[in-house]
């Protein structure tokens, strides 16, 4: 690993730190924040990777303009019947909890769009007549842009296995000191997959009724996952003061507030990184980055022995 900036956090920073940038609502500036923090951390001398886990709408590449050096498909396992071995007993249709298998007059029919790749049918078929074959559901790209290691996943159009592509993106990540995960919006299975291996979560919101409502859902999710989290308030001077009041009541730190600045919207529209085209914001992000690290140090327990779960398995849903 490369050199470390800011000596005081060294023991803590011996562990790579993974921060998920999420938001209940889309369009709150999540990507802008994740990109700016990644660039800020890199400028502070850390090795940084940015993982674009918003695989339905990945946009990070627009700002990093990365040189992609490798690509591979994200695969999920799909069962297939070896006809010669199958006796048509129908067990597999009973086993599948998602009705992805029907056995009609001794013929096994598999509906790929319902299968979640749980592996039960192939494991439990009494005749060992089901094998799993891999099928691509998206792509993963790895590269470097603006001094930051870059990985993104792209879900293929018409596919629904979003979490499988996210798992593939995380699997392609390196061991940089700092990892920023740009998560999909919402609170459903895709976000859970993106957030579950992070050490801390940044929730980006804006102080409008929609923003606040969706923030409360994101808070509920993050609490359920038992992750430490804090809030970034974007366009803080827009809307009303209810979001700030909510954060105060719930004891949620607001680590960074960014004004409703038309120049930020314009830079975003052109696909330019905020801290690069508007240098006056660079110190704002440097301050926020230091606050964030100090906060992480207080919140995240020294890393325990991680729960020994097999990371290599396809996590799909």
């Amino acid at each position: 690993m490369g050199g470390r900036g800011g000596g005081c956090l060294n023991e803590f920073m011996n562990n790579p730190l993974k921060i998920a940038v999420a938001s209940g609502k889309g369009g709150t500036g999540k990507t802008t924040i994740a990109v700016s923090l990644a660039l800020t951390a890199a400028a502070a001398g850390r090795t940084v990777q940015y993982l674009d886990c918003d695989v339905e709408e990945p946009n990070g590449h627009i700002f990093f303009k990365p040189q992609i050096h490798s690509r591979f498909p994200a695969m999920v396992a799909l069962p297939e019947v070896i006809k010669a071995q199958c006796n048509g007993c129908g067990d597999c249709a009973d086993i599948c909890a998602y009705n992805a298998i029907a056995v009609v007059r001794g013929q096994v029919l598999i509906f790929p769009e319902l299968c979640r790749g749980c592996g039960a049918c192939s494991l439990l078929c009494p005749k060992d007549a089901i094998v799993e074959i891999s099928r691509p559901v998206g792509n993963v790209e790895i590269g470097v842009g603006a001094g930051v290691a870059f990985v993104r996943g792209v879900l293929s159009i018409g596919q629904i296995m979003t979490p499988a592509v996210i798992a593939a993106v995380k699997g392609a990540g390196g061991d940089q000191e700092i990892t920023l995960l740009d998560c999909p919006p919402g609170t459903s299975c895709a976000v859970i997959e993106a957030v579950r291996d992070a050490d801390a979560v940044l929730l980006v919101t804006e102080p409008t009724p929609f923003g606040l409502h969706d923030l409360t859902l994101a808070v509920e999710m993050t609490r359920a996952l038992k992750k430490p989290f804090c809030v970034v308030l974007n366009r803080f001077d827009l809307g009303d003061d209810k979001t700030v009041a909510y954060c105060r009541e719930e004891n949620i730190p607001i680590i960074l507030s960014i004004p409703d600045d038309r120049r930020i919207a314009e830079a975003y529209a052109r696909g330019e990184a905020l801290t690069e085209v508007l240098p006056s914001y660079a110190p704002v992000f440097t301050d926020a980055w230091e606050r964030l690290l100090a906060w992480c140090e207080r919140q995240i327990p020294r890393k325990k022995v991680p729960v020994p779960l097999d990371q290599g398995k396809a996590a799909t849903s």
């Binding site: 889309g26 969706d214 359920a224």
Partner: protein, 298 residues
Amino acid sequence: MKEIAVISGKGGTGKTSLTAAFATLGGKKVLADCDVDAADLHLVLHPEIIREEIFIGGSKAAIREEDCTGCGLCAEHCRFRAIGYSVTTNGEQAEKPIINPIFCEGCRLCARLCPVEAIAFEPAESGRLCVSGTPCGPMVHARLGVAQGNSGKLVTLVRQEARTIAEGEACELIIIDGPPGVGCPVIASITGVNLALIVTEPTLSGRHDLMRAAELTAHFRIPTLVCINKWDIHPGMTERIEKEARDHDVLPAGRIRYDRLVTDAQVQRTNVLACGDSAVGEDMKAVWRSVESALSNQ
């Protein structure tokens, strides 16, 4: 009866504000909030809930500690990494595994494998479905429990309920507020609709996401319109997106200017058209006229 879905590749493009404005226009209609992951339409339409139903999306597994022998078979085979061992503060791993319900997808594999039948399997509430009345007509909305999968199934239920109501009350139109993205809840929201309206913004990200959403609607052969919100933030990009959209047989339905009134209306918990005459309101009405004529041409 016809169905129109308002979607957006990217979130936060003003889709819900536009849907709320549409709700006040035109004839009898049913509103369906299919953004079940982050349903916001109710915040501005003030629905009075008439009926609420529990939605069971699936079942969850749980280990009965007293019966478990700690053989580890279940943890070894769960593909969703839902089964693990807690670790005590001095770094020791517990003898028996536990199931984290957030990650459990209810595939039942663990329960079938467990040699001593120590795993119970219970249906779990994963959301609520509500049928409500609003000043603009009946509305069906839902709330997916946090950390729940199966949003596609809940979206399908919302749409079924909306259709039943539309038939019962002789409504001509269902307006669907769809989720962002191109994944399973979006697919569930648009399959079989008569028209999709993609709301986007004149940014590089907006353009990229619009193209993906347009590919999705093309994949399902759904006639599609696009509307550029806050078009005046970047007029050049607006032109470019509209041209590219045309090349993909997606017709522009109009442009909506940037106006803080849209946010102000939201803060006042109402829709733009209820805030008196405004240029941005006229823009929205013009988009609605394009939608109506596209629907009647079918």
